[in-house]
Amino acid sequence: MAVNAGKPRVKPRFSQTLRKHWILLLMLLPAVVYVVIFNYIPMTGIVLAFKNYQYSGGIYGSPWVGIDNFRFLHIGGKLGMVTRNTLLYNLAFIFLGVVFEMGSAILLNEMIFKRFKKLSQTLMFLPYFLSWVVVGAIMYNIFNYERGIANHAIRALGGTPFDLYNSPLSWPPILIFLKLWKSTGYGSVVYLAAISGMDQEMFEAATIDGANAWQKIRHITIPSLVPTMMVLVLLAIGNIFRGDFGLFYQTVKSSALLQPTTDVIDTYVFRLLINNGDYGMSAAAGLYQSVLCFVTINLCNFLVKKVQPDYALY
């Protein structure tokens, strides 16, 4: 193959790069085609938010309707509610996620019983391997009204059974618990990896200086984890207006009664599209979500860059 290793280094021109690296470019082609088809072409489809989609016209041939779709969304009156829910749930997920993941990574790292450590780590990973459908089945097992374990115990103790699927206010803590339950084991691995990459000499030096275990955690381990945390939090903030569709869809089971506390932007967009077949309104809500996310992540990245450029994502 023609690889001219001995050529003098000059700034490569377009055609030169093309000739020299055609194999690399060919290897890149499948992923580029994929991303163009499934990401970039759909991006141009945001015009649908301003159109009345008709099957015969397709995305680009359907008639324009201006901001009608957004007006209907506004009249529908749900957008504020689902935005609030999405934001609040995600704030809770991010904040408690950091606390749980970092906390369990630190505790796992301190643990000297290696067998116990490995076993508990394996168990903590178990929920990550379950699909949301299976989590839904487990919820049903525990909370179903007639035969669920919770109500069975309540009945046995002479109490009044509790119908979870009829009480909107008990859902936020349950959904937050489920999210943490499912993702803590996985999330803690990332922090654990960061801890094991830390310089052990620091701990030795601190020990010699008379620091106790808590002080070492507080003054060495946690500060060293901040860069990792910042990356993960920034990435999460980029999706702060995106709900975890599986979590909300499979456990809540689109019950209208529970919507005030459990409906997020993603379930709303999905319902508009699949159940109502309202392409225009759904596209408008989707565009609203994408723009919110895009603005948020750029703003946060900009602010982080101002304060501490090392932590910025791009």
């Binding site: 991303v35 019983f113 394996t122 089945a137 097992n141 525990i142």
Partner: protein, 303 residues
């Protein structure tokens, strides 16, 4: 591979060390238990006879042992086996393609001599910052790519992930450049170097990406729900979802009308089906756990 210096342990049992370890054992132990218990409850329920489930509710400790529910699940096995075959086929093929696509792309973007690597990296990364939303994507898939009731609908949506590509890229950046350079001098081209040299050196990476992808395919119900209406093409998770859903709907009808519907899926069957749908992928984890942590260590932190 990087080596972590392990100092010989000279641990002295001071009061603070004991306190930290006790806290650790209690908190982590409790959390591990909470992770296990719900799964345990489903396993127990799946082995409990239906009559006992109806009479006494779901058990906390095993009351009796029976394989009745599993036998019922497999009594009319065509649909279950069909779903299994679909899931296994899609998972195997999809995972293979996903590994190939992300490692190959990661390899190209990790080449220091490739002048456009930053431009292309941004081209991929941008898709994580902005997207067109569900509707345009759905229309492209259905109308232009004809993915309704096609296995493409189950395979394509999960085939490429920018995050996996980034993990692959940072892993391959860590492979010494001299390896590729000397192979080039020997006349090997980039594709040969990738296949013959880099892939064999990337076992932890392949294990990690393979597990991520296999998990995503195995646990997928979403794409089946929006693309597939042909019952012969349902995958396991969607099959389970329909079973649970129809049980709930029928229960409501039965409650409202007071009629006992004999075709309601039995309680134990639902639990047995849950285990059947989960089993293999959970069993896979202990075998790849070692690689998994290693692969994540290299990839995830760099974002």
């Amino acid at each position: 591979m990087s080596t972590i210096k392990r100092h010989p342990s000279r641990r002295v049992w001071t009061a603070d060390a004991i306190a930290v370890n006790v806290t650790s054992v209690i908190v982590i132990g409790l959390f591990a238990l909470i992770c296990l218990i719900p799964f345990y409850l489903v396993v127990i329920a799946s082995f409990t006879p239906e009559s006992s489930l109806i009479r006494d509710g779901y058990p906390i400790v095993p009351r009796a042992f029976s394989l009745e529910s599993y036998a019922l699940c497999l009594k009319n096995p065509t649909s279950v086996l069909m779903a299994y075959a679909n899931t296994i086929g899609v998972t195997l093929f999809g995972t293979l393609m996903a590994i190939l696509l992300s490692t190959m792309t990661g390899y190209v973007l990790s080449r220091p001599e490739f002048p456009w690597r930053n431009k292309f990296s941004f081209f991929f990364f941008f898709t994580t910052l902005f997207n067109g939303g569900l509707v345009p994507w759905y229309i492209i898939c259905i109308r232009y790519l004809d993915m309704k009731n096609s296995y493409l609908g189950l395979v394509l949506p999960l085939m490429f992930s920018v995050w996996n590509m980034i993990i692959a890229k940072s892993f391959m950046t860590g492979i010494p450049a001299a390896i590729a350079e000397s192979a080039k001098i020997d006349g090997a081209n980039d594709f040969i170097i990738f296949v013959r040299l880099f892939l064999p050196l990337s076992k932890p990476l392949i294990a990690t990406l393979g597990l991520f992808s296999a998990l995503a395919y195995w646990n997928d119900w979403y794409n089946c729900m929006i693309f597939i209406t042909d019952e012969n093409m349902f995958n396991l998770q969607y099959f389970l979802q329909r079973m649970l859903g129809s049980a709930q709907a029928m229960r409501l009808v039965a409650e409202k009308s007071g009629i006992d519907l004999p075709s309601v899926p039995l309680e134990g069957m639902k639990m047995a089906m849950t285990i059947i749908a989960t089993g293999p992928i959970v069993l896979l984890y202990p075998f790849v756990q070692r690689y998994f942590v290693k692969g994540l260590t290299i990839g995830a932190v760099k974002g």
